[in-house]
Structures are given as structure tokens and as C-alpha cells.
């Protein structure tokens, strides 16, 4: 006769949704605030241009 632990283990295993864990949806984005941007800029010595907010560009037409 299987032990109680063994039965519980089997129930747990059957309940596991592996596929959802393997292909998780992208979480909602939370954008960094400017204080952290500044910290990163200081830390990198100004080399990480792409980590800065994009430069505003005038619209054509």
C-alpha cells in the first residue's frame, strides 16, 4: 500500500502545469524611473547609450 506521502506526491505531480512554466507569458512591463537611469549612467561611465531614454526627434511633415 503506498504511503500517504507517496499519494500526496502523485497528486501534486499530476497537478503541475509544466507547459505553462516552460513558455511563460511576458510579465507586464514596469519601466525604470529616472533615478535608476541616472544610477546606471553613473555606474557605466556614460558608455551605455542605448540604456538612456531615446533622444526626441522632430516629426517629418
Amino acid at each position: 500500500m503506498p504511503s500517504k506521502d507517496k499519494v500526496l506526491e502523485e497528486v501534486r505531480t499530476e497537478n503541475i502545469d509544466i507547459e505553462a512554466a516552460l513558455d511563460p507569458a511576458e510579465p507586464d512591463g514596469v519601466f525604470r524611473d529616472s533615478r535608476e537611469c541616472a544610477a546606471l549612467a553613473l555606474q557605466s561611465g556614460g558608455t551605455s547609450l542605448l540604456l538612456s531614454p531615446p533622444t526626441p526627434r522632430p516629426k517629418k511633415g
Binding site: R12, T13, N15, L22, D23, R32
Partner: protein, 235 residues
């Protein structure tokens, strides 16, 4: 109720397992990599499922440091591959993560003398990556970060190689969205790709990811992998 407690148990075991791998990558000790699996803390089925979720990275110390895997850990890994094949209607990332695990086992059996000699006909398709925008591409590559290995040759790595600027753009987006896991996975890919813009500041970016998200063992695992790549960044 049961489902949520099971999910929490699985997530906790995945984190423990990832911590073991990080410890092993930092110390070169394969025993640490198998600690969660051989220590009896998690139930057999949950441990097997956790290995399936962490995927081929469970054997990352073997792939990168060439230390032999712990026999007990390897047995659970093989069980996980056998017990959790992708369903017929599984998403491509699920199919590929299973392929990566099988690939890791094949690498163990015919070691690293000829890592590119696998049968390419057995590969799943990767057309979904060619059609993907840069955001989805980066998300999917981060999910499939276990495939970002030196010398790996498959359709996913070829898709990544064709689009280094898109992956760099996705890395920046992930950092700005505070998605540390995606950022770390994308960063790991970028350490392997040619044509990454110097202006990205990958090293500083990965430092920042470590600072902000490195307490999550899954993030730390990707950062350690990036550090250990042949052209790895200094972290």
C-alpha cells in the same frame, strides 16, 4: 488551492535547483549542482518537474566547466526528459526546451570532441522566430537561454545570430521593463553573438541586471553563464 500550492512548490524547487547550479558555476563543484535533487528535500515528481522547467541548464556546469554531473542528478535529468515530453500541440519554446535537454544528454554521451555532429534533421522548426518581431524574438530567446552555449549549432542559435541588433534592442527593452530574467537571458545570448553594437554597453548593462535582479537565482544563473562564455563579459 491544490494547484496553487503545487505551483508554489514547483517554483520553489526550481529556485533551489537554480541556486545549486549557480553555486556549482561559481565553485566548479558538481556536487553542489545536484544538492536539491539528491538531498531528498523535494518529492520525486516535483524534483523531476523542476528539472524539466530549468531544462538543459541543470547540466550547465558540465557544459561550461566540463565537470562530470553527479550520477543522482543525471538520473533525475534523464527521468525528466522521459517523463515530460512536449505535447503534440505544445508551443515551439516547449518543444525546443525538451530538444535542448535531449541535446545535453547527447553531448554527455558523445562528448565535446564533436559537438556539432548531431543530426540536424531531428531539429524542430524555428520559423516562428524568423517571423517574430524583436520583442517576441528576445522573449523567446530568453526562455530558450539554455541553448546559448559556445559551439551550439541549431536553428535557434542561427536565428539569434542573424539578428544581433534586434536582440540588443530586446535586452534594453527588458532592462527598462525591469524584466531581469529576460534581460539576463538576452544578455547571455549577446555574449555569443557577433555584430552586437558597442554602444549597447553590455557589460554595464549586465552589471545593472545583477545589481537589480541578481538575488533571483534564475537571473544569477544566466549572468554566471554569460560570465563563463568564451567571450564572456567581466562581471
Amino acid at each position: 488551492m491544490e494547484q496553487s500550492s503545487t505551483s508554489a512548490l514547483l517554483q520553489g524547487t526550481v529556485l533551489d535547483l537554480a541556486s545549486d547550479v549557480v553555486s556549482a558555476l561559481r565553485s566548479g563543484d558538481h556536487v553542489r549542482a545536484g544538492g536539491t535533487l539528491t538531498g531528498g528535500g523535494a518529492g520525486e515528481g516535483v524534483a523531476r518537474a523542476a528539472v524539466r522547467v530549468l531544462g538543459a541548464d541543470t547540466l550547465l556546469p558540465t557544459a561550461l566547466l566540463r565537470v562530470p554531473p553527479d550520477p543522482g542528478q543525471l538520473a533525475v535529468f534523464k527521468d525528466a526528459v522521459a517523463a515530460h515530453p512536449p505535447r503534440d500541440d505544445a508551443a515551439p519554446a516547449v518543444v525546443w526546451s525538451h530538444w535542448a535537454m535531449a541535446r545535453a544528454l547527447r553531448r554527455l554521451e558523445q562528448p565535446l570532441t564533436d559537438p556539432l555532429a548531431d543530426d540536424p534533421g531531428a531539429e524542430p522548426g524555428a520559423g516562428w522566430l524568423d517571423d517574430a518581431g524583436w520583442q517576441l524574438l528576445t522573449h523567446q530567446l530568453a526562455v530558450l537561454a539554455p541553448l546559448a552555449l559556445p559551439g551550439e549549432e541549431c536553428a535557434v542559435t542561427r536565428a539569434a545570430r542573424r539578428r544581433p541588433v534586434d536582440v540588443a534592442r530586446g535586452f534594453v527593452r527588458a532592462v527598462r521593463r525591469r524584466d531581469w530574467q529576460q534581460a539576463a537571458g538576452a544578455g547571455r545570448w549577446l555574449t555569443l553573438l557577433d555584430g552586437v553594437p558597442d554602444s549597447l554597453g553590455l557589460e554595464a548593462g549586465l552589471d545593472f541586471v545583477r545589481l537589480m535582479g541578481g538575488s533571483d537565482p534564475r537571473v544569477a544563473l544566466q549572468l554566471e553563464a554569460a560570465r563563463l562564455m568564451p567571450a564572456g563579459v567581466l562581471l
